[in-house]
Amino acid sequence: MEILILNGLINGLIVGGVYALIGLSLTLLYGVLRIVNFAHGEFVIGGAFVAYVLFNALGVPPLLALPVAAAVFFALGWIGYYLLMPRLSRSDDPEIMSFLMMYGMSIALAAVMLLVFEADSRSIDYAFEPISMQVGLVYVSTARLVAFGIAVAIAAALTWFLFGTLPGKALRAAIMNREAIQIIGVDVVKLSAFAFALATAIAGVTGVLVALVFPAFNPFSGAEYAIIGFIVVVMGGLGNPVGALLAGILYGLAEQMSTVFLPQAMAQIVGFAILVAVILIRPTGILGWRAQR
């Protein structure tokens, strides 16, 4: 039993790291642009497919696929911003309309991936040396440990970026008050385009990690990740990057621990129940008091 619990804890941390990154990019999008990105899961799966294609067609190992995915998705996000956002921001209720638009985007992207890769579940047959490592009492696959290390590194880099550099501070300022930063002379359109591209790039990179951590993915797994992303974002407080990181880890732990004690399907229900409970009881998220000040 102790080993099971320890296993649940370690896997919870690893899976939670991935969830935290999904939540972080999603919350960045919402904070800066007020976009509720339902298609985020498809961006993530898109990243996984980039790694899949690079490995199967060119033999590129997943670690080298990370920068490629980042670059590709950053460019796509930049283009996507200028294609979609100017018109969207003119509608009556941009927030709910963005949800609807991204819902359509999610269906369209899943359909494109379905046309290209078909409905079969895919996985990357890349094996690290050694294939698993001992952590305390339990063995964990090296791929998962590597993925966790990368997730921590990305989270650290982003935290440094958001809190230590001028563009990062501008992003956080945009989350707090979009009007005020324009008075100081920040080009809010460029900043938003950058935020969109950055969030998309993080989603793409997270996709590569998903390919390492989870056994398989298919064109339709996107929606699951989007919903997990929403859970994490809402738990952490909409538009709160630190909250998203914490909530991601917490949710990963809760999910993995409940698979230890409950059947698989119940664990999923627990996730949704957590979401509903958090919104109904504490709509500002677990760090909500910060947002209110």
Partner: protein, 327 residues
């Protein structure tokens, strides 16, 4: 929304005259449409196409009560449909109910589910949408994990030899007419006006003596009962129910898209939207079955970007004076 000048001025006679024109027009159009649908089986037209046309008109119109009249975006709308489908299937298959007796229970199940979800009505905007999505997933998971002898597990429930395509077609027509009639009534009734007032400014409506909670609940229950009935009738029509299809998120997607395509907040919007989109869907499906999903997604994006008020909404914005005659 634009305030209706006639409702603010207490001129009862003029209002009655307007109502008369309005309901006469509605009755005329409704009569023509009813005759058309009545004749579909007689003239041996495409039964399935018209069945689903009526189903989507009902779904989109019910969604419109929540989204257009009340200002809630239930992205888990499929929950009502799926629970309705399973209620009829379980009652018929396991308890031996006749289908026509089981169908009202589907409606009742929709109302019960609506009551269960009622606490979420104090949320707004995006929070409501996300919670609704999560609740629909919970419904699907709960039904999927019920014992196999009740819900049939992953094979679903087969209703066997109870298929009566023409009779179920007419029942669907009845459901649609009741739905459209209720919504037409709602758009002119006190309740409908109160709903719109609460949607636009809940505090102001509260000050004017509107019972905000009760009005929201009534609107919500009207939106909940019809998709549940649709689910029940569709289960009867296709003779099979399983969690994959009954809780398919595409059902929500189509409902939302059809309603938005026509224009939320108007009675005719979701009808026009459904007719146009179901027809387009049929056209596209026949031509390129593989591209159907892709086109549905792209159409949604384009709709939001270029026609966010929908066909009828855009028309009414161009010609505000037509508001009088187009519900």
């Amino acid at each position: 929304m634009q305030a209706d000048a006639r409702t603010t001025a207490p001129r009862a006679a003029e209002r009655e005259a307007a109502d008369r024109v309005y309901f006469t027009l509605a009755a005329l159009i409704g009569g023509v449409v009813s005759v058309y649908f009545l004749l579909v089986p007689v003239l041996d037209l495409n039964l399935a196409f018209h069945f689903y046309l009526m189903l989507w008109i009902t779904m989109a119109s019910a969604f419109n009560v929540a989204a257009g009249f009340s200002g809630y975006m239930p992205f888990g709308f499929v929950a009502f449909y799926g629970v309705g489908a399973f209620t009829t299937a379980i009652l018929v298959k396991n308890l031996g109910f006749p289908v026509l007796v089981a169908l009202p229970f589907s409606g009742a199940a929709g109302v019960v589910l609506g009551l269960l979800f009622a606490p979420t009505l104090r949320l707004s905007g995006i929070y409501f949408a996300i919670v609704s999505l999560a609740l629909a997933s919970i419904c699907r998971l709960v039904i999927t994990n019920m014992p196999e002898e009740i819900t049939g597990g992953s094979f679903g429930l087969q209703l066997g030899s109870r298929a009566e395509p023409v009779l179920s077609f007419y029942v669907m027509m009845g459901v649609m007419l009741v739905a459209l009639g209720s919504i037409l009534w709602l758009s002119r009734s006190r309740l409908g006006k109160a709903l719109r007032a609460v949607r636009d400014d809940a505090e102001a409506a509260d000050m004017m003596g509107v019972n905000v909670t009760r009005v929201r609940l009534y609107g919500w229950l009207i939106a909940a009962v019809f998709p549940a009935l649709c689910g029940g009738v569709e289960a009867w029509y296709t003779n099979v129910v399983d969690t994959e299809t009954a809780f398919n998120t595409l059902i929500t997607a189509k409902t939302v898209i059809y309603a938005v395509a026509g224009g939320l907040g108007t009675v005719t919007g979701p009808i026009v939207g459904s007719v146009v989109m179901v027809w387009l869907d049929e056209l596209i499906w026949r031509q390129f079955p593989l591209l159907n999903l892709l086109i549905l997604g792209v159409a949604t994006v384009l709709l939001v970007l270029f026609l966010p008020r929908g066909l009828v909404g855009t028309l009414l914005r161009r010609r505000p004076q037509w508001r009088r005659y187009i519900p």
